[in-house]
């Protein structure tokens, strides 16, 4: 059930990069949200190295060494490395654990030798299949939980996940521009699955004395956003993707209601809204994650970040060194600019520049600029009667904001798509139980394998 019923911040203007109401401290002298921004570098192993534990551990050792080496080469004060699990690292819990340990070993060496601050996030792969198995009792879940344990034992400071509950519905509905089903898949099923998962993750984190980090609606809201794509893409309307994002904020919030402390996951674009509500530090990814995907919020999304990430970069050589070193450098300078603004007492000026760069570039940036994110956050906490109610309120608020700001331009098609979704959203039942039973009827017929029991229903 929803818990948050008020905002952590008194106004959007209070929100700024580098500082969170509830900073988190872990790793080697590493504090997130405590006044300065740090880079979070996500290295991705080359295909082929996942074949054996030995080759994969070696790959990670090389990548981590390159990252830490570049930090001390150019003066980056501290860094978090995300071990974003490829499937093999989670399926084999000892792999994940060993890679965390190897990473920690290297970070300790650099900390001892140079004083480089550092930390490790382990993001376990959620490879449960909601339309094929009992996701509350399957081998995948068992392995995932085991891998959380081995990672924490091995040296991960922060445990995170990109959970996939409700994806079987949203996959079907996003490509059909079906806002009702999307709200059901993300807002209801996603939230319920997160509640289930995060109880367990927090328990494990507590057991090992590490920090439960965060979740992201990568499997749903990012699907919509990446499919919406750039200006020329015609896969999913951008307005529809923006509504999906608003819904995802109500969902990803569940992690913090179950005890997660942040920093949130980088690819959770909804995290601006979550920071407004919870005050947890957030990891964000924008222009420097172009290596992983293109987006329309390259600068704006940094406005309130506490960690600044590249999302993921595969390990290869470039003229300027390996990709992981190259992106460490790019992130490092981006972050240096933010920290300089902080030291000069001009952080808000830089933040506002970031915002204005992209606020009207696209609907996604528009709803995620601090002012609008804050409004959506308020809609969420003011409708905390059910997961459904607050997710729907978030979408409606986002839609209203988009429709009323005349500076936000939209094509006729995009506007129609938004208005149609808004009509649907407004026509939906008030009560969660009614909504669930309506959706259950519809989607059980349409989606083979869909099972309410997976969500305790």
């Amino acid at each position: 059930m929803p818990k948050f019923d008020k905002m952590a911040y008194a106004s959007a203007d209070e929100m700024i990069f580098g500082t969170a109401k509830n900073p988190v401290k872990y790793g080697r002298d590493f504090t997130v949200g405590g006044g300065y921004v740090f880079p979070e570098l996500v290295p991705h192993p080359r295909p082929g190295t996942e074949t054996t534990k030995k080759t994969l551990v070696k790959e990670y050792e090389k990548m981590v060494t390159d990252v830490l080496g570049r930090c001390v080469a150019i003066g980056i004060p501290g860094i978090q490395i995300e071990l974003e699990h490829v499937y093999q690292m989670t399926k084999n819990p000892d792999w994940g654990g060993e890679i965390a340990a190897a990473t920690k070993h290297l970070q300790e060496e650099y900390h001892r030798k140079y004083g480089l601050k550092s930390a490790i996030r382990a993001t376990i792969a959620d490879y449960r299949k909601p339309d094929e198995e009992d996701i509350r009792n399957c081998v995948a879940l068992e392995n995932q939980l085991k891998t959380f344990e081995t990672s924490a034992a091995g040296g991960a400071d922060n445990l995170s996940i990109e959970s996939v509950g409700g994806k079987e519905i949203s996959d079907y509905t996003i490509v059909r521009q079906d806002i009702r089903g999307t709200l059901f898949g993300i807002g209801v099923l996603g939230s319920r699955d997160m509640e289930f998962m995060w109880k367990k993750i927090v328990e494990i984190a507590d057991k090992y004395g590490v920090t439960p980090g965060g979740d992201t609606d990568c499997a749903q809201a990012n699907v919509a956003m990446f499919m919406a794509g750039g200006y020329q893409d015609r896969s999913v309307p951008h307005t529809f993707a923006a509504l999906t994002r608003a819904i995802s904020a109500a969902r990803s919030l569940v992690a913090y209601e179950q005890g997660a402390k942040g920093p949130s996951k980088d690819c959770g674009y909804e995290d601006v809204i979550i920071k407004a509500i919870t005050g947890v530090p957030i990891a964000m990814e924008g222009k420097a994650s172009a290596c992983a995907h293109s987006d329309l919020v390259g600068n704006l999304i940094a406005a309130c970040c506490d960690l600044w990430s590249n999302e993921a970069v595969e390990y290869h050589d470039m003229f300027g060194g390996t990709t992981v070193a190259v992106f460490t450098e790019i992130l490092g300078y981006d972050v240096a600019l933010m920290n300089t603004a902080i030291e000069m007492g001009q952080a808000k000026i830089l933040r506002d520049m970031m915002v204005e760069s992209d606020k009207y570039r696209d609907t996604h940036g528009f709803i995620l600029c601090p002012q609008n994110a804050y409004e959506i956050g308020k809609a969420i906490v003011e409708n905390n009667t059910s997961y459904y109610a607050r997710a729907r309120a978030a979408a409606i608020k986002a839609g209203e904001l988009m429709l009323k700001d005349s500076k936000l331009q939209m094509s006729a098609f995009e506007k129609e798509s938004l208005e149609s979704a808004m009509r649907t959203l407004e026509s939906l039942p008030e009560k969660e139980e009614d909504f669930i039973s309506e959706c259950a009827d519809i989607y059980k017929k349409l989606i083979p394998g869909f099972s309410l029991a997976n969500y305790g229903l």
Partner: protein
């Protein structure tokens, strides 16, 4: 706070360049019943297509309803999508409606209409992200192909077994992660060893043209919407190298 008066030096909304001249559907049928069927396909109206098709079947041969109603409607949808008038969701819901209509016609016909050919689709082992594959399935089916859907997280062996069983004109593989797509090379080798020199279209997430060019049979699928065209080329006798040359260079 300082404000921005003019954003055009910061970004240009290229998505709005040349918009406004909405073209809409150009297709209509003189026959009112068929027109209703076409309309349901164009609007992706899965609820009303049942009645529309049944109504048309009352006076017409199922093959006429299929060819002059459902397929014509779907071809128009493809045109609208190609020209940027429709988005993917319009194409998908149209294909949903079309397939519902087709099923009714086939029931009346007493048999399935002949398909253009069979395509085996799968998502790589370790990958549970099969949305791309599902879109490919829908578009292939809407374009008259038989689809053998192996689902997600599929081991190499299963793909080979299915190819042996169904003798498809094409195989597709989807992978989100580069560390799961490594299975594609293995599949390529196995197919060749077993004597199947058919195009193996690989796409999704992290799969790149550069990678797919690295093994035999591999054709890079940049976008799900290319699948029907590639399958048609295979049916029309182009071999995998010609298909690669046409679509990937």
């Amino acid at each position: 706070m300082a404000t921005v008066a003019n954003y055009s030096n910061i970004f240009v909304r290229y998505d709005l360049v040349g918009t406004g001249d909405a073209k809409g559907a150009k297709l209509s049928s003189k026959d009112a019943a068929l027109q209703k069927v076409i309309q349901c396909v164009l609007e992706g109206d899965s609820d009303n297509i049942v009645d529309a098709v049944n109504e048309a079947l009352a006076t017409k041969d199922p093959m006429v309803v299929i060819n002059e109603g459902l397929i014509k409607g779907m071809n128009e949808v493809s045109r609208l999508w190609d020209e940027g008038e429709y988005y993917l969701p319009q194409a998908i819901v149209a294909s949903d409606a079309m397939l519902i209509g087709l099923e009714i016609c086939e029931k009346k016909l007493g048999k399935s209409v002949e398909k253009k050919g069979t395509v085996v689709t799968h998502t790589a082992e370790g990958d549970i992200h099969d949305l791309g594959q599902k879109i490919v399935n829908a578009l292939l089916r809407a374009n008259g192909f038989e689809v053998v859907d192996l689902g997600k997280d599929v081991p190499v062996d299963e793909v080979i077994t299915a190819v042996k069983k169904y003798n498809p004109v094409m195989v597709t593989g989807t992978a989100l992660m580069t560390t799961t797509m490594t299975a594609f090379e293995k599949i390529s080798k196995r197919l060749i060893k077993e004597g199947y020199k058919i195009p193996f279209v690989c796409g999704g997430g992290a799969v790149s043209n550069e990678y797919v060019q690295g093994y035999e049979l591999g054709v890079y699928g940049k976008d799900a919407s290319q699948a029907p065209g590639m399958a048609s080329d295979a049916v029309n006798g182009m071999d995998w190298m010609q298909i690669r040359e046409k679509w990937n260079s």
